[in-house]
Amino acid sequence: MRPVGPVRSPDGARPDNSGFTRPVAGLLRAVLGALIAIAALTGLAAPALATQQPPHGTSSQPAPPEQPGLPVSGTLRNVDGTLLSGVRVQALDASGQQVASTTSNTGGRWELTVPTPGQYTFRIDRQSLPPGVTVLQGEVVRDVAPGTLSLVVFRFGAQRAGLQTSASATALRVLVDGIRFGLVIGITGVGLSLIFGTTGLTNFAHGELVTIGAVLAWTLNVTFGLQLIWATLLAIVAGAALGAATDLAIWRPMRRRRAGLIAQLVISIGLALALRYLVLIYFGGRSESFADYTNQVERNYGFISITDKDLATIVISLAVLVGVALLLQRTRIGKAMRAVADNRDLAASSGINVERVVLFVWILAGALAALGGVLFGLSELGGTVQYEMGFNLLLLMFAGVILGGLGTAYGALLGCLVVGVLVQVSAQVIPVDLKYLGGLAVLIVILVIRPQGLLGSRARIG
């Protein structure tokens, strides 16, 4: 399965280094490639998806063999999903000479032929666009080679959608996007917060639980051909097992040795680093796409258009979070978890088996992280998985969890929602590659104004 969208990290995203300056270059290229991919995918995935040619649909593409030259084709689809007809597409050769041009048919399809293999620039004639349609990327440079299918994808303006949609519709869309993202952050953040509350550990390796969950689901889905839902369920089980394993193998012995929290924190960082690059070795530095739910078009529900997978993400997240809340509120183990977080010694002295409760917290956190990883990749990263996704999410998790009050479960949720909305809102005004900045900036602001967070108590921060 190929990555979705026109943007792929450059080849050589794996570090390739020797000598002294090379490691720097290797690291740089790895991180650079990955970040370009993530920035592009997070920011541009929606329009890219909207204009993507369905891979299966292209098999029926007529490529008349008697015609000399090489066929290039595509479908023009606006952000709202409508197919654009009567739009002129030109092909220019390296010297800027027009070598071919065509006009899209009623299905939005266009097709033209270039004379020889080589590099061409394909361009949309903006004059021919229907009124109100704006172009985000109207020029694509592409190497055309014989024997391959040449698809050219133009992207239409999402940011300047104001021409077609009202301001309130845009606001609603951003809000829904934000809530969706916030819920995903929340699913992973609740685990992080619970671990902190019950053990005092600031777990910097939590992002890797997220990545590993997503990568496992991807492996089952793509390599073993399991449908994504089943793959995700298995990944959740594996995530729970991984959470339990890290607690039993690392953190319980550390607690037994009365290791300081700062030592534990540094250990979690070492663990995060090792796990992240193990994933890189196994998975590679590129963004890879899930096999299912990749090409979804937004459905219009009257007041809001949303893809099925985004809607599903919201529904699943909400259901899971309500489940977690019920667990904390109603069940014995949930109450025990809150009691341990509230006062570990008191809980221990009143007969609660603290170690068992902590193990359960890790199981829950691992499962939630794995689910969150899949949902994060599916909704926010345009259906792809990437080895640094967890670390990128980790900083937003911290922002949300601190905003809500470190160690509180409901506060973490609320904080993550706010951060999610903030990230999406800020993407409206600041450059897309700085999108996560708003979420991180709020972290610093909240520490100045109200360090205990929205729902935290004053005593625990000192």
Binding site: R338, A341, D342, N343, G405, G407, T408, R460
Partner: protein, 308 residues
Amino acid sequence: MRVEVSAEVPAQPGARKPDPVLVIDSITRSFGGVRAVDVAHLEFQRGWITGLIGPNGAGKTTLFNLLTGFDRPDTGRWTFDGIPLSRLAPHQVARRGLVRTFQLTKALAKLTVLDNMRLAAPQQTGERFFGALLGTWGRQEQANTGKAMELLTRFQLDAKAHDLAGCLSGGQRKLLEMARALMMDPAVVMLDEPMAGVNPALTESLLQHVKSLRDDGMTVVFVEHDMDVIRDISDWVVVMAQGRVIAEGRSEALSANRAVVDAYLGSHHDQVLEFDADGNPVGQTAMLVAEIESELEAAIERGQDLSA
């Protein structure tokens, strides 16, 4: 002299003293709806040893924390020698001569005993960033070392001067903390349970040291929950329960005070705790446990669920 003066002060909560060094007015502090401290008026007489007693949870340590700037009150103000201290940070309070120790000793384990002492010396040139770089702090350091050794000798710690403080016994740490406080030439020393966790053999020597502080002209306030310990050395005793001052007076007079006995010993005091063979509580004890557990649960429901 002290005895005569104390005989003239009425034994009632909030009593005026002839020469108060520390005067507290309407200080309150709540934690999640529970009034931990609620003191209308309280004075500490200069040059006395005042014992602050009360059962666990009476608010003694919270009051200490408030007075020394380690916690912020919801309301209230207090003055030290007529100067308002409210809203000051802990180090500002300490610099004005009101020095405290802690219930759990805070001997700095990875510093030597001597460094613990020298650390406390006030106004060191070498403590300032650029002062440290100039290297002109040598003479002052020498003087501080001399003073530290004198105090260590007085507290019988001089043999340990170059050991890490972490090697000291519990009682020696208490002594070190007291000696360290004296490095600052305080006017008022506030000792939080100086006798807690100390080998009984050392208690007497500790008490003598507390007395010697007073004899050097310092005012001593100390927290203790064992009434017997303080009877001999206190000039005055303040009794707290549930955040309030419920009685004060000379220690011999207080033993007969019904309110003190009730509050102090608590309603559960004479109840024998009963357990079955498996260690589960039975009878009255089981009800008591259930009551405590439901309070705990209520606290969780009420509070910000997962905050410790």
